[in-house]
């Protein structure tokens, strides 16, 4: 069974959704037959390239509130993430344009490390408060087994631009406006970070249909 997941590495609900899907897979008896493919989605393509701004400041600007109001906004998501074992650190998280990160993720996919790379980049951004510049992206790619010289080459060029755009276009064709969203066997869609039970039901439904 093919499970495609549209996600952005700065998306707190995507990381939560990833954990909930993983929980569902531990109870799914055909989990060994599931192939997960990560697809690119940019939450905010208008974020300038090479701009690294604290998330609290970026959100305060975007929504016109104070930093304290932004802290309150993020607190609920942080609390739900804790329940999934994810210790978000919004106070140190840095906003950045994720297009190059997605190009790097396509390189990682070529090396069979698409899932590991997605996890590593989300962890770096949402939990470790990393500044996701070129040097950091190369280091993170190396950590999941992507050769550093290849990672740097991709980031220095425009390689995989077409692949990222194709993923985003496919999301638009489905009519998706948010992430995460999950497509099972190109037949069933699940929007958002649903409870693990919903993912388990969806996996079971898709498996029965394809059996």
């Amino acid at each position: 069974m093919l499970v495609e997941i549209w996600s952005d590495v700065v998306c707190p609900w995507c990381y939560i959704g990833k954990r909930r899907l993983e929980t569902a897979l531990t109870s799914f008896e055909h989990a060994a037959d599931v192939e997960i493919v990560w697809r690119s989605f940019q939450l905010d393509p208008r974020t300038p390239k090479n701009s690294y701004e604290p998330v609290y400041d970026a959100l305060a600007k975007k929504f016109g509130g104070s930093k304290d109001q932004v802290k309150q906004m993020t607190a609920q998501v942080a609390e739900l993430a804790e329940a999934e074992g994810l210790h978000y650190d919004f106070a140190n998280a840095v906003s950045f344009n994720t297009f190059d990160a997605h190009r790097l993720l396509h390189l990682a996919k070529k090396h069979g490390a698409g899932g590991e790379a997605h996890e590593r980049l989300m962890r770096a951004n949402l939990i470790e408060g990393a500044r996701m510049d070129t040097g950091t992206l190369v280091k993170l790619a190396e950590e999941v087994g992507v050769p550093g010289d290849e990672a740097r080459h991709v980031l220095d060029t425009d390689e995989y631009t077409a692949d990222v755009n194709a993923d985003i276009r496919q999301a638009q064709e489905y009519g998706a406006t948010g992430v995460p969203f999950f497509v099972l066997d190109r037949a069933y869609g699940v929007s958002g970070a649903q409870p693990a039970e919903v993912f388990l039901q969806a996996l079971t439904t898709a498996h029965k249909a394809g059996a």
Partner: protein
């Protein structure tokens, strides 16, 4: 005695077809599973 020109209602099978009310389909071409209001980052807003 006044005669009323009464026209009986049309038979059910002659009634115009009432379109079924279907919920909006958020993902085109897919069968949507789960609730439609799950937590997600939408239009750049996560909170």
């Amino acid at each position: 005695m006044v005669e009323i020109d009464f026209e009986p209602p049309a038979a059910v099978e002659d009634s115009p077809e009432v379109p079924e009310v279907t919920p909006a389909e958020p993902l085109k071409g897919l069968i949507v599973l789960g609730s439609g209001d799950a937590d997600a980052c939408s239009d750049g807003n996560c909170f």
